[in-house]
C-alpha cells in the first residue's frame, strides 16, 4: 500500500520534473526546425534556456500603479501549468495527482491561468495591456468549447473523463481505426495553435503591437516575472503536445509503475515530441498569420470538426 503510493509519487515527481525541464527545449526545437526549413541556421535548441536565465538575473521593473495581483500572477500561472503537466499521463499512467483533475478540470486549470494573466495585463492600465487581455479572453472563450468537444470524443469511446483511464484503455487495446478520433485530432491541432499563441492565430515573434495577442499581455513584465511567464508558456505548450500524444498516439506510455518500463516510455516520449515539434514547425512555416477577426472562424472550424468527430462516433460507433 504505502509502497505503491511511494512509487506513484516518485513517478509523479519524475514526470513533472521531466516536463518542466524539457519544456524550453521543446520550444527551442520547434524554433530550430523552423529556422532549418527557412534555410536559416537557427539560434540553437538551448536558446530558450539562455533567455530564461538571463531574465532571472535581471531586476524586475514594475509600473508605479502595479498592484500585488500583478506581481503574484506569474507565480500563479506557473503553478497552474505545473499542475497541468503533472496531471497528464506522459510517460506512465499511474500518477498520484491524476485523480485530482480529469480533462474538464484540466481545461479549468488552463482557464485559471489565463484569467490571471488577463487580469494582470489590465492591472497597469495601459492601452496595449487591455487590448491584449480582451483578445486573449476572446480567443480563449472560443477555443475552450472546441477543446472540450475534442476531449468528448475519446471520452465517449472510453466512457470516462479521467485521462488515466482514457490512456489506459486507448493505449492497451488492439489497434482499431477511429475516424472520429481523426476528426478530433485535426481539431485538437487547431486548438493547440490558438491556445499557445502560434501562427496562424498569433505570432509569438511579432513586434507590431496592433497584431499582438499574447505578447501584448506581458508587455509590462520584466525580469523574473517575465521568465516565469515564458517558462509557464513553454510548459503549457509541452503539456498540450503531451495531451495530444496521450489521446491520439498513446502507444508506449507505461501502464503501471516499475522502473524497467520507464526508459522506453521516455524514449517514446522524446521521439513523439520531436516529430510533433517538427510537424508544427512545418505548419507554421507554410501558413501566415490571420487577422484577429478571422480567429473566430478558425476556431469555430475546429469546433465543427470536433463536433463532427463526436457525431461520427455516435453514428458509426467508431
Amino acid at each position: 500500500m504505502t509502497l505503491d503510493i511511494f512509487v506513484s509519487f516518485l513517478s509523479q515527481l519524475t514526470q513533472t520534473l521531466l516536463v518542466v525541464l524539457i519544456a524550453p527545449l521543446m520550444l527551442g526545437w520547434v524554433a530550430q526546425c523552423r529556422a532549418w526549413m527557412q534555410n536559416r541556421s537557427g539560434p540553437g535548441i538551448l536558446q530558450p534556456y539562455r533567455v530564461l536565465f538571463k531574465l532571472l538575473e535581471k531586476d524586475a521593473v514594475l509600473a508605479h500603479n502595479a498592484s500585488p495581483l500583478f506581481r503574484s500572477a506569474p507565480y500563479i500561472q506557473f503553478g497552474c501549468m505545473v499542475l497541468a503537466a503533472s496531471v497528464v499521463p506522459i510517460i506512465e499512467t499511474n500518477l498520484l495527482f491524476a485523480p485530482a483533475a480529469d480533462v474538464i478540470a484540466l481545461v479549468g486549470v488552463f482557464a485559471l491561468a489565463r484569467v490571471f494573466s488577463a487580469l494582470a495585463a489590465m492591472d497597469v492600465g495601459t492601452s496595449f495591456g487591455t487590448l491584449g487581455a480582451r483578445r486573449e479572453m476572446l480567443v480563449a472563450s472560443l477555443s475552450e468549447p472546441a477543446l472540450l468537444m475534442v476531449f468528448f470524443t475519446p471520452l465517449l469511446i472510453v466512457q470516462s473523463s479521467s485521462l488515466n483511464t482514457i490512456v489506459d484503455t486507448l493505449a492497451h487495446r488492439e489497434f482499431a481505426l477511429y475516424p472520429s478520433l481523426a476528426f478530433a485530432a485535426v481539431a485538437f491541432v487547431m486548438v493547440l495553435l490558438a491556445e499557445n499563441a502560434r501562427i496562424p492565430v498569433d505570432n509569438p515573434a511579432t513586434h507590431l503591437e496592433l497584431t499582438m495577442i499574447h505578447e501584448a499581455l506581458i508587455l509590462e513584465y520584466s525580469g523574473r516575472h517575465l521568465a516565469l511567464i515564458e517558462w509557464a508558456n513553454a510548459i503549457k505548450f509541452t503539456t498540450y503536445c503531451a495531451i495530444g500524444i496521450a489521446l491520439f498516439v498513446p502507444w508506449g506510455i507505461a501502464q503501471a509503475g516499475g522502473w524497467q518500463v520507464l526508459p522506453g516510455a521516455i524514449l517514446a516520449l522524446f521521439v513523439k515530441l520531436g516529430v510533433a515539434g517538427a510537424g508544427l514547425a512545418l505548419l507554421e512555416t507554410i501558413s501566415a498569420k490571420m487577422r484577429i477577426f478571422r480567429a473566430p472562424e478558425f476556431l469555430s472550424m475546429a469546433f465543427m470538426l470536433a463536433a463532427l468527430g463526436m457525431l461520427t462516433l455516435l453514428l458509426l460507433g467508431a
Binding site: D102, A118, D123, V124, M137, F293
Partner: protein, 670 residues
C-alpha cells in the same frame, strides 16, 4: 441528528415571525437610520443564521407538516418541510445572514424610501420567500408568491423619482403578475378531487398526459417569468439594477431560486409523470437563456446591469440542468437524474453566494464613488483593497474556475451531459452533447465577462478624478462580503459535504443518491459516479497549485533575488499615458458585439471626423423586446380602440343596446 427540541417547522415560523416583527418595528421610528441599521438589521442577521442552522439539520429529518388557523375557511394555510424545501430554506438563511450583515452598514440617509419603511419591505420580502418555500397548498403558495413580488417591487421603486426606475418597476410587477396568473392556471389544471388545493390533493390527482403537459408548460411559463427565462427575461435587467444593492442581491440570489424551487416542486413532486420532451424543452430554453444572458452581459456598460444579465445566464444553466434531470428521470435513469439534479441544486447555492457577493460589492463601490457606469470607474483595488480582494473571489467563482464553487457545479453538470449517450433516444444522444458545448461556451464567455467586470472596475488607472477619494467599505459591509467569499471557497473545496446533504433531497425526487459512489473513494476525492469514471479533488488541486507556487517563489528568491524597481509603465514606449487610453467597457465588449452581431439590435452613433469634441455612443438592445413585447402592447391598444367605438356617447345608441339585448334574449328564450 437533529439537535433542537422544537420542531424545525416551528422554529422556521418563529424566524418568519421575528422578521415580520423587526419589519414592523422599523415603522416605529421610520426616519432613524441608527436604530434601523444598528439594531434591526443585526437582529435580522440572527434570524438568518437561525434559519440556516435549523434547515441544515432539518434536511435529514422526516418531512413535517403543519396547518395554521389562517387562510380560507375551507383551505387553511398548510405548511410542509421536506428535504427539498429545507434545502432552499437553508439557501435563504445563508444569503439573508450575509445580506443583513451588509445592510447593517449599507443604508444611507436621504436615499429614496425612509429607512424604516425599507426595513419593513426588506423583512417582509425575506419572510414571504420563506413562506413560498414551506407552503403546502396552492393558496398560501400564491399569497406568499405575490407578496414576495410586491415587497420586492416596492424596493425596486425606492428612488421612484427617476422615470426609468418607475418603468422598470411597472414592467417587473406586470411580468410577475402575468407569471402568477399562469401559475394559478397551472394549479387549477392540477386540481385535486372536489376542488381541494392542498399539495397532497394535487399530488394524488390523476392527470391525463395532455393535461399534465398543459400544467407543466404553464408552470414553466409562470416560474420562468419569475426566473427570467427566455423570452420572459426583459424585466430582470431593468428591475435588479434599480433596487438598492442588498435588495438586488436578494432578488438575484434568492428570489430567482424560489422560482427554481417551484419548478422542481411542480415537475418532480406534484406532477404524477414526467415526459421526456418536457426535459428537452426546458434544456433548450435553458441553454438559449444562458448564451443570451452571457452575451448581453459582455456588452453592458452598467455594472449592475451586467450582473443582472449574468444572473440570466446562470438561471439558464440551472434550467438546463433541470431539463437534463427531467430527461434522465423520464427515461428512468435514476443515477444520472440524481447527478443532474444535484448539479442543478448545487449551482443554485453557488449562484446565490457569488452573485450576492458581487452585487454587494457593487453596492460598496456605488457608495464609495456614486458611480454605476463602468466607463467612469477603474483602479479601485488601490482605494478599496477589501472590497476588491473579496470581489475577486466572487469573480473567479462566477467565471467557473477551479478550485472555487462555480466550477464544481459546472463540472457536475458536464458529467451529467456526458452520460446522455446512454439514452434510448438516438436524437437525444446526438443533440445533448452539443448542448454541453453550448454550456461550455457560456461558461467560457462568462470568464470573459468577469475579466471585463473586475478589470474595468478594480484594475487599471482610475478613469475619473473623484475616484481618488473613494474609501473602502465599513466593517459591517466587509463582514457581509467576507461571509459570502468564505462560502464560495468552502463550497468549492468541500463539495462532498454538500452532496451528502443533497442526497436527502434527491432521494424522494428521483429516488437515488450519489453518496454510495462518493463515499466509495474517501472524502478527498470527489467521484460522483465512480473513481475511474470521473474524479476531481479540489483539495489536491489547491495543494498542487499552492505548493508549486510556494516552491517556485522560494526557489526564485533563493537562487536569484527579489529586487524590484518601480518606474512608469512602459506600454511600448508610448510617451504619455492617460486613463482614457484604456479599454472602456464598450471597447472591451466590442469583439462580442462584432461576432454575435445578429443577436443584438445595435444602434451606433459615430462621431464626425472633423468635430471638435467627438461624441460616440452605442446601444445594444434586445431584439425580443421589439419582436414580442411591443407587438403585444400594440394589439392590446388596437382591441381597446375597437371596443372603445361601442361607447359612442349617444344615449340613443345606449338605449338601442339594451333594446337589442332584450330582443335577442327573448328570441333565445322562445
Amino acid at each position: 441528528m437533529y439537535p433542537f427540541d422544537t420542531a424545525p417547522l416551528d422554529l422556521i415560523l418563529g424566524v418568519v415571525l421575528l422578521w415580520l416583527l423587526i419589519g414592523l418595528a422599523g415603522l416605529a421610528r421610520p426616519t432613524s437610520l441608527r436604530f434601523v441599521s444598528r439594531v434591526l438589521f443585526p437582529m435580522g442577521t440572527v434570524g438568518g443564521a437561525m434559519l440556516l442552522l435549523v434547515a441544515v439539520f432539518a434536511i435529514r429529518v422526516e418531512p413535517v407538516s403543519l396547518v395554521l388557523p389562517l387562510g380560507l375557511p375551507d383551505l387553511p394555510f398548510h405548511l410542509r418541510l421536506d428535504a427539498l424545501s429545507a434545502f432552499f430554506i437553508a439557501l435563504v438563511g445563508a444569503v439573508a445572514l450575509g445580506v443583513s450583515l451588509f445592510s447593517a452598514g449599507y443604508f444611507r440617509q436621504g436615499e429614496g424610501t425612509v429607512p424604516g419603511l425599507l426595513c419593513l419591505q426588506y423583512h417582509v420580502f425575506l419572510s414571504s420567500m420563506v413562506l413560498v418555500i414551506v407552503a403546502d397548498d396552492a393558496y398560501l403558495f400564491m399569497v406568499a408568491w405575490e407578496t414576495m413580488a410586491l415587497s420586492s417591487y416596492f424596493m425596486v421603486t425606492t428612488s421612484h423619482k427617476i422615470a426609468e426606475i418607475r418603468r422598470a418597476g411597472f414592467l417587473y410587477l406586470l411580468m410577475a403578475h402575468i407569471g402568477a396568473i399562469a401559475l394559478l392556471l397551472c394549479f387549477g389544471v392540477m386540481h385535486g378531487e372536489a376542488g381541494q388545493y392542498t399539495f397532497d390533493a394535487l399530488r394524488s390527482s390523476a392527470l391525463s398526459p395532455f393535461w399534465a403537459s398543459a400544467a407543466f408548460l404553464l408552470a414553466l411559463f409562470g416560474f420562468g417569468a419569475k426566473a427570467g427565462l427566455l423570452p420572459l427575461h426583459v424585466w430582470l435587467p431593468e428591475a435588479h439594477p434599480a433596487a438598492p444593492s442588498p435588495a438586488s442581491a436578494l432578488m438575484s440570489a434568492v428570489m430567482l431560486k424560489t422560482a427554481i424551487y417551484g419548478f422542481l416542486r411542480v415537475t418532480f413532486d406534484l406532477l404524477p409523470t414526467q415526459i421526456w420532451w418536457w426535459g428537452v424543452v426546458t434544456l433548450v430554453l435553458g441553454l438559449l437563456t444562458a448564451l443570451f444572458g452571457v452575451m448581453f452581459a459582455a456588452v453592458q456598460s452598467d455594472m449592475k446591469r451586467l450582473l443582472a444579465y449574468s444572473s440570466i445566464e446562470n438561471i439558464g444553466i440551472i434550467f438546463a440542468g433541470a431539463g437534463l434531470a427531467i430527461i434522465f428521470h423520464a427515461y428512468s435513469n435514476p443515477h444520472m437524474a440524481a447527478l443532474a439534479l444535484v448539479a442543478t441544486l448545487y449551482h443554485c447555492v453557488n449562484h446565490a453566494f457569488f452573485k450576492s457577493l458581487l452585487f454587494l460589492g457593487t453596492g460598496s463601490v456605488l457608495h464609495a464613488t456614486h458611480e454605476r457606469s463602468l466607463g467612469k470607474l477603474g483602479g479601485l483595488i488601490r482605494n478599496m483593497p477589501w472590497v476588491a480582494g473579496l470581489s475577486l473571489v466572487g469573480a473567479l467563482a462566477i467565471a467557473g474556475l477551479p478550485p472555487l464553487n462555480g466550477f464544481v457545479s459546472e463540472w457536475l453538470l458536464l458529467q451529467a451531459f456526458l452520460f446522455s449517450p446512454g439514452l434510448p433516444n438516438p436524437y437525444l444522444n446526438m443533440l445533448v452533447p452539443l448542448g454541453s458545448a453550448a454550456l461550455v461556451l457560456a461558461a467560457a464567455l462568462s470568464g470573459y465577462v468577469m475579466v471585463k467586470f473586475y478589470g474595468v472596475i478594480f484594475l487599471g488607472q482610475q478613469r475619473e478624478e473623484k475616484l481618488r477619494e473613494a474609501r473602502d467599505a465599513g466593517l459591517w459591509e466587509r463582514a457581509g462580503l467576507a461571509w459570502f467569499a468564505m462560502g464560495c471557497v468552502a463550497l468549492g473545496l468541500f463539495p462532498m459535504a454538500v452532496i451528502l446533504l443533497l442526497d436527502h433531497v434527491t432521494l424522494p425526487l428521483v429516488n437515488f443518491t450519489l453518496s454510495a459512489a462518493i463515499s466509495g473513494s474517501g472524502w478527498l476525492l470527489f467521484t460522483p459516479v465512480a473513481a475511474e469514471r470521473a474524479s476531481y479533488s479540489p483539495i489536491f488541486f489547491l495543494l498542487g497549485i499552492a505548493g508549486t507556487l510556494l516552491v517556485t517563489f522560494l526557489a526564485v528568491r533563493g537562487f536569484y533575488h527579489g529586487r524590484v524597481r518601480r518606474s512608469a509603465a512602459w506600454d511600448c514606449g508610448f510617451p504619455e499615458q492617460t486613463s482614457r487610453m484604456q479599454d472602456s467597457a464598450e471597447g472591451f465588449g466590442q469583439p462580442i458585439t462584432q461576432i454575435f452581431e445578429p443577436f443584438f439590435r445595435v444602434r451606433r452613433q459615430m462621431p464626425d471626423p472633423f468635430s471638435r469634441r467627438p461624441v460616440y455612443f452605442k446601444t445594444n438592445e434586445d431584439r425580443l423586446w421589439y419582436w414580442l413585447y411591443l407587438p403585444i402592447a400594440r394589439a392590446n391598444e388596437r382591441i381597446a380602440s375597437w371596443i372603445g367605438v361601442l361607447q359612442h356617447g349617444r344615449i340613443h345608441l345606449y338605449l338601442l343596446y339594451s333594446f337589442i339585448t332584450l330582443l335577442a334574449l327573448l328570441l333565445f328564450v322562445r
